[in-house]
């Protein structure tokens, strides 16, 4: 705020200022003053100061004295008055800035009213500089201001032309211009060579704002086609910086000229929408398909460059213009390329359960079910009474594991054909759930062996033909078998089994008890009940039991164990008294010292929780090595590890194990230490050393001392879901975004349902009816006002008169 004298004294040459003369007395046009004050800061950016000149009361100087001076603002450059603005032309900040800049940039921004004027300007510019042509519906608007502000910056680079005449726009290539909205066109006159032709034009498609105009002009200034010779990942142009995509035309020496023309054609089409770069494949080593000819780089952070195969330049344009299309094309491409991978990899609806798949591939084959009697709710009880021993397989006809077991079960039936006193039968729990529930069958499959109705045993072994047949056979003989004479007992140890057991020779176990140790005997008999079917057990407790124990140098209670080879009889003193302990002990004692490990027997050794020392052998093991290993196994105190061997001929899956350990199959035989339960390290015994007890022992010492390097370590990865599930929750969300279910904290949730916005999931009919009935209830409740009814009915009649309604 200055006095007139101060103001005129302060004016500097070349510096513009906007002055408003104010006389204290008049409370006059205050709103205008506010707008001026608001625009002061913006004008300052353009070097224009805004001054309020306070005229003294009696001042009669030129501006203060003027009759209507107070309704005007004055623009000075230096002390030269450039323009007087009536205050009604300066109605807001936009109009003030637009008008002030318009006045100052008189040369930079040409105002044209006719087509001829426009053409004149254009013609003079051809070959010299470019033109920015703007149409604004009126001066003093925000768009006008934006154009002027751009002109302030770019006025010296491009010629700006402004019009408020919509007719000029029509000629500028717009057939039906929307005269209410401002437009800006960039006219490429600089490169125009033919004077007869109008300059090429690129319309700005965004709204006229300072930022958009700036962006547009930046893009127009950028080279039409950028030639690049580096990895597209590293390339950055003004387009990318301004958030536009960059299209690479992948060129080769042979096609360079044509590609260059294509690039230019495309670039003109995409001007303002995307950048175009020409990439010479000969100069850059691209790791993409040779047939790819286009690459698209999007400004999104971290977005991968998409390499595409397009056939037409127009496809590039649609690609950029329709972003959805980009995605679609790209997906198609990916599908094509990854089709095979996908089929193998990522198909949720492809069965990846080996058991289910194997069973369903086998479903067309007719099973020989006649071997196995099908029981029903009606026949179950009577069937059990008919045979002394009934084996029942409880299964579900839709469940893969039980169908797999059913196949083995039929083989068992085949094998046991003709065996007296055993009936193999089955119950399909899908048909007869009542029987299964009554028999306490909660899982499929379950095999139970019934002795009439008195006793039943549930099978808890491997689901294999061999194991199941053996179990059924062994459980026919009482366990433990009571031996009457000492000869019988000795014969038992030698392997003179009851005939029905002959084909299932296992180690046999004889309990020797004196009359004083009847408690241990009872525990032994109980253990026999538990182990029935798995183990052959005999018991001898006659008076001369001592004679037997003397012979084997044990004192009763004791167990005598004859392994299936029958070479020697081991004697074990019984200290455990409970049946459970006895079972544990027997199971442990039955394990071999240096067993051949197989798929079937591994679990029994796995349960010990110890590391494994395995000798992998292609066929039977070398006798010498075997003996050395046996010595080693026997010699190790308390068996801190499981020494075993694996016959790759008999257990071919061992190849799979070796492959995991060593990637390539090592020279066989190979001795491997597997730290199964602690850390999972795999160590390989040096192949150059012969396998002898001493060598192995010293190697084990080194292992213990940490001096050996593991060949590999077993993955401790958890068993995660192999593939994702269908995400129905997300599908619902996508399909019905308004679905209230999906917003747990839905604000309407607390209200009674009829106030809820009708959801597509909601039963609208019910809601409608509800409200209808509510209405009816209100009107129809006892003691209602009848006058309320009549007009309603009358009204209904007037409007409706539909005969289907009363």
């Amino acid at each position: 705020e200055l006095s007139p004298q101060e103001y005129f004294r302060s004016l500097q040459a070349g510096k513009a200022s906007l002055a408003y003369f104010n006389r204290n007395v008049s409370p006059g046009p205050q709103p205008f003053l506010e707008q001026i004050e608001d625009s002061a800061e913006a004008l300052q950016d353009y070097g224009i100061s805004v001054v309020k000149v306070n005229c003294p009361d009696k001042d009669v100087s030129r501006y203060c004295a003027k009759e209507n001076a107070l309704r005007k603002a004055y623009l000075f450059r230096g002390n030269l008055l450039i323009r007087e603005f009536p205050t009604d032309a300066l109605f807001d900040v936009n109009s003030i800035i637009a008008n002030v800049l318009f006045a100052l940039l008189f040369n930079e921004v040409k105002y044209v009213e006719t087509l001829a004027d426009l053409q004149n300007v254009e013609n003079t510019l051809k070959g010299r500089s470019n033109m920015v042509f703007a149409y604004v519906p009126a001066t003093g608007t925000a768009e006008h201001r934006a154009v002027m502000e751009a002109a302030f910056v770019y006025g010296t680079v491009h010629q700006f032309v402004l019009t408020t005449e919509a007719t000029l726009l029509k000629d500028a290539g717009n057939d039906e211009p929307d005269v209410s909205s401002a437009r800006l066109l960039f006219c490429h006159c600089q490169r125009a060579t033919d004077l007869a032709q109008p300059c090429r034009r690129t319309a700005m498609e965004q709204a006229l704002t300072k930022l958009n105009i700036h962006r547009h002009l930046k893009l127009m200034e950028a080279p039409l086609v950028t030639e690049v010779a580096e990895d597209p990942e590293k390339v950055s142009t003004v387009h990318l910086q301004l958030g536009l995509p960059l299209v690479f035309i992948l060129s080769q020496k042979e096609t360079y000229e044509a590609d260059r023309r294509t690039a230019e054609f495309v670039a003109w089409q995409l001007l303002g929408k995307a950048g175009v770069a020409l990439l010479s494949r000969d100069l850059v080593d691209l790791n993409v398909l040779l047939r790819s000819n286009i690459a698209l780089k999007t400004p999104d952070e971290g977005a991968a460059i998409k390499y595409l195969v397009l056939e037409d330049a127009d496809e590039i344009i649609t690609l950029v213009e329709d972003k959805n299309k980009v995605k679609q094309i790209q997906e198609d491409e990916e599908e094509e390329e990854e089709d095979e991978d996908e089929k193998e990899n990522n198909n949720q609806d492809v069965q990846d359960d080996q058991v289910v798949e194997a069973v369903s591939r086998d479903k067309k084959r007719e099973l020989r079910l006649d071997q196995v009697l099908a029981l029903t709710e009606e026949t179950f009880d009577s069937a059990l009474l008919e045979t002394s021993r009934t084996v029942v397989l409880f299964y579900a006809s839709w469940e893969a594991v039980s169908l797999a077991v059913l196949r083995s079960y039929i083989e068992v039936a085949d094998r046991l054909k003709g065996v007296e006193g055993v009936l193999l039968s089955r119950v399909n729990c899908w048909d007869w759930p009542g029987v299964c529930t009554k028999e306490n069958v909660t899982q499929f499959p379950t095999v139970k062996i019934y002795e009439k109705r008195e006793r039943s045993v549930t099978y808890d072994g491997m689901w294999g033909t061999e194991e199941l047949s053996s179990f059924i056979t062994l459980s026919r003989v009482s366990c433990p078998l009571k031996l009457a004479t000492i000869d019988e007992a000795e014969g038992y140890l030698r392997g003179d089994f009851p005939s029905e057991l002959s084909s299932y020779r296992h180690a046999s176990l004889l309990g020797v008890f004196s009359t004083a140790t009847s408690e241990a005997r009872k525990a032994f008999e109980e253990a026999g009940n538990i182990l029935s079917g798995h183990v052959t057990m005999g018991v001898y407790f006659e008076d001369d039991a001592l004679a037997l124990s003397h012979k084997y140098e044990v004192s009763p209670p004791a167990l005598l164990l004859a392994r299936s080879g029958g070479r020697s009889v081991e004697s074990i003193t019984v200290s455990k008294q409970s049946a459970q302990d006895m079972v544990q002990m027997i199971r442990y004692e039955l394990l071999d010292i240096f067993p051949e490990i197989t798929v079937q027997n591994l679990p029994r050794y796995l349960q010990l929780g110890k590391p494994f020392l395995i000798l992998f052998s292609d066929g039977d093991i070398d006798q010498v090595e075997g003996e050395e290993m046996l010595k080693l196994a026997k010699g190790t105190p308390q068996q801190v590890f499981v020494a075993c061997w694996l016959n790759l001929k008999k257990t071919p899956v061992g190849h799979g194990v070796l492959k995991t350990y060593f990637a390539t199959t090592p020279l066989l035989p190979v001795l491997v230490w597997v730290n199964l339960h602690a850390g999972g390290q795999i160590f390989k015994f040096p192949s150059e050393q012969p396998i002898t007890e001493t060598n192995v022992l010293s190697w084990l010492e080194k292992l213990k001392a940490g001096l050996e390097i593991p060949s590999s370590t077993l993955s401790e990865e958890d068993w995660k879901p192999p593939l994702p599930a269908y995400d129905f929750l997300q599908m619902m969300e996508t399909a019905m975004p308004e679905l209230p279910l999906l917003h747990t904290s839905h604000p309407h949730g607390d209200m009674p349902p009829r106030h809820l916005p009708k959801s597509p999931g909601g039963d609208t009919t019910a809601q409608e009816e509800l409200s209808q009935e509510n209405k009816a209830e209100k009107v129809g409740s006892p003691g209602r006002d009848l006058r309320g009814t009549a007009p309603r009915l009358a009204a209904r009649e007037k409007q409706g008169k539909k005969h289907s309604k009363l």
């Binding site: 193998e344 990899n345 198909n347 949720q348 609806d349 492809v350 069965q351 990846d352 359960d353 058991v355 289910v356 798949e357 194997a358 069973v359 369903s360 709710e377 893969a400 196949r407 048909d431 759930p433 899982q443 689901w463 294999g464 194991e467 591994l602 679990p603 292609d618 071919p652 899956v653 799979g656 194990v657 492959k659 995991t660 390539t664 199959t665 066989l668 199964l676 401790e716 958890d718 068993w719 879901p721 192999p722 593939l723 599930a725 269908y726 129905f728 209230p740 279910l741 949730g749 607390d750 999931g761 009919t765 009816e769 509510n774 009848l786 009814t789 009915l793 005969h803 309604k805 009363l806």
Partner: protein, 631 residues
């Protein structure tokens, strides 16, 4: 210790009178092609639940729509064979409370019968049905006959013109009986007809009764009209004919004048629809619960809106205001009115059992029956239930099976047919714990499929592909997964028409034309993937050989191997099956490898696990055949 009071001299006295024309509309389907007794209950709408196979309704009637007398006989046998303690000829006329701290619920119920005899009990189960006929009062309603007394002899209607008030099954049943002998029948009610095949609600108009719809639409003189009965008036002329007029005309009338002075609608609108006079007007407006016998202190309140004929109860079937009072049977239908089957024998037989289980837990310390399974049986236990369970099927969207996961994720507990409305109270109501998440198994129709005005026969109404299962329209199993038991607050905030609040994950088993959800690829496989992803584990089955390989090559075993093979219960599998698995690329055949130490290892390597993941030979479903889209 219990006793049942029955007003009549025999059980099921309602059925001795109703339905008047004696034909039950609950189906008695004797053949399903299946022997599964649980499954067959899905299509037996008349039997009550018992352990006694003699008490199946099909032993009482061979008719698909049985005679009501068979029901009376059945109920008599049910009561006597099971030796139920029923005291007949006892009409309870008053129920009140007696405060007493020793009582289970802080009060005893005091019941008084018609002989002023008093009875006292701790829990009161009200299964009195809805037997009080709905009546409307309007001028001339004295000329109206009630459904309960109207003649059922068609001869009595010969050559008559009949107006029926109401639009339920009783109204159509009455019309059906006299359709052939009347001049014509008109039927008036407030709302449009709701066809049960369009609404999937068995209480709406059933096809067996809908002959009048034919004769109306084929212009055979019969007709349906919508209108508010409260606005009606009936005037009898000198010849005894009944004329329809509007209530408000009567109000302006000079009372002293006779019938001739009454304005009839046709006086002003000469083509008024019901201008023809009627010989008879029959009221068939249904029934409501008898609220009259309860003392105020019990606060037995009628429901809101269209549920006003039922008392207000909680989703646990307990009265809203009186602890220890449970409403069972038809009277409990407010829970699922016009939605599920809770108002009918084939529905409330299950909800009643649920109440029994709730009470067992509450008063006798007997937790809700449950079975514990290893996690490998998860998919199996669900598949078994959704294929045979009748309670889930009949009481869809109301009763649900609950799977409670045990803390270490290796086992789960299975609870059957729990009322989902009280899911939040599960731990308290069942005595079971839900420490680490739960699955809720429920059956649902497509959300926007059913309705009185819906076209349920449009093309492509059935979904055939598992990946679109969530759009299934017909009844199909839905499994909700929650990491935590939903709170009561969350239950309250659930969207309208949703049985449950937003789950952490949801799975729909695609609807099936045969309601048989045992297809390995379309039904079980997607379910397994869902369960696997909820639990974050691999639930595939493996042959023993694979488990052997994993045991030696991985530090951890998949659950199937851990719970089977590692316990010496591996699935050895027959040679044939192993071959199939090898052909499918899901099992590597190492016998084919010729190994001698110096030869380079086989090149088509990769561990077996790799094979399992990558070498799946695609089995593209036969899109056209699996689709039930077009008939």
């Amino acid at each position: 210790d219990y006793i049942v009071f029955e007003r009549s001299h025999a059980p099921g006295s309602f059925f001795a009178l109703y339905p008047r024309h004696r034909k039950l509309i609950s189906i008695n389907k004797r053949y399903t092609g299946k022997s599964n007794s649980e499954f067959n209950l899905r299509h037996d709408w008349n039997s009550l639940l018992s352990h006694d196979r003699r008490l199946l309704f099909q032993r009482y009637s061979r008719d698909f729509f049985p005679d009501a007398d068979a029901m009376v006989r059945y109920l008599e046998d049910f009561a006597s064979l099971l030796q139920l303690r029923v005291q007949y000829n006892t009409a309870i006329i008053h129920v009140t409370l007696e405060k007493d701290e020793r009582a289970w619920n802080g009060h005893y119920f005091l019941l008084t019968d018609q002989d002023r005899q008093n009875y006292k009990c701790s829990s009161l189960l009200v299964a009195t049905g809805t037997w009080v006929p709905n009546v409307v009062n309007f001028p001339g309603s004295e000329y109206v006959e009630g459904y309960e007394t109207v003649s059922i002899n068609p001869e009595d209607f010969a050559g008559q013109t009949v107006l029926i008030l109401g639009r339920g099954n009783s109204a159509f049943e009455t019309a059906e009986n006299i359709l052939g002998v009347t001049n014509f029948i008109h039927m008036v009610s407030r709302s449009r007809v709701r066809l049960s095949w369009a609404t999937h609600y068995v209480g709406d108009l059933r096809a067996i009764n809908n002959g009048l719809l034919d004769t109306y639409q084929l212009k055979s003189l019969d007709g349906l009209l919508e209108g508010d009965l409260e606005d009606l008036a009936i005037v009898k002329d000198k010849k005894g004919k009944l004329h329809i007029t509007l209530r408000f005309y009567l109000e302006n009338r000079n009372t002293s004048a006779g019938i001739d002075s009454i304005t009839l609608p046709q006086d002003e609108l000469d083509n008024f629809a019901t201008r023809a006079p009627y010989d008879r007007v029959i009221r068939c407006l249904g029934w409501k619960f008898d609220f009259s016998i309860y003392n105020r202190s019990l606060r037995m309140m009628p429901g809101k809106g269209n549920k006003k004929k039922y008392p207000q109860i909680k989703p646990s079937y307990e009265s809203r205001s009186t602890q220890g009072l449970f409403v069972l049977g038809t009277a409990s239908h407010s829970i699922d009115f016009r939605k599920s089957a809770g108002g009918f024998i084939h529905g409330f037989r299950y909800t009643t059992r649920a109440v029994h289980r709730l009470l067992e837990n509450r008063h006798h310390g007997v937790p809700w029956p449950s079975t514990v399974y290893p996690v490998t049986q998860l998919a199996n236990s669900i598949i078994k239930r959704v294929n045979e369970a009748s309670g889930l099927y009949q009481m869809f969207s109301v009763l649900a099976d609950i799977i409670l996961l045990r803390e270490n994720g290796t086992a789960f507990e299975y609870l059957e047919e729990y009322p989902v409305g009280v899911l939040a109270e599960l731990e308290m109501q069942t005595g079971r714990k839900a420490p680490s998440g739960l699955f809720v198994i429920i059956m649902e129709y497509g959300r926007n499929f059913s309705g009185a005005d819906k076209d349920v026969f449009y093309y492509n109404r059935a979904v055939g592909e598992a990946q679109h299962a969530w759009q299934s329209n017909f009844l199909h199993p839905v499994i909700y997964y929650y990491k935590h038991l939903p709170t009561e607050h969350e239950m309250r905030l659930r969207p309208p028409d949703w049985p449950l609040p937003r789950p952490d994950a949801i799975h729909h088993i695609v609807e099936d034309f045969l309601t048989d959800w045992t297809a390995p690829n379309a039904h079980i496989l997607p379910l397994r993937r869902f369960l696997e992803n909820c639990l974050g584990t691999d639930l595939r089955n493996f042959f023993a050989e694979s488990c052997f390989l994993f045991a030696f090559t991985r530090q951890k075993l998949p659950p199937f191997c851990r719970q089977g093979y590692a316990r010496a219960q591996g699935l050895v599998g027959s040679e044939g099956l192993r071959r199939h698995a090898v052909e499918a690329g899901l099992l590597e055949d190492y016998t084919l490898m010729d190994f001698s130490g110096d030869r380079p290892p086989d090149s088509h390597g990769g561990s077996q696990d790799q094979l399992l993941r990558d070498h799946v030979i695609p089995v593209r479903p036969l899109q056209h055949l699996v689709n039930a889209k077009d008939e």
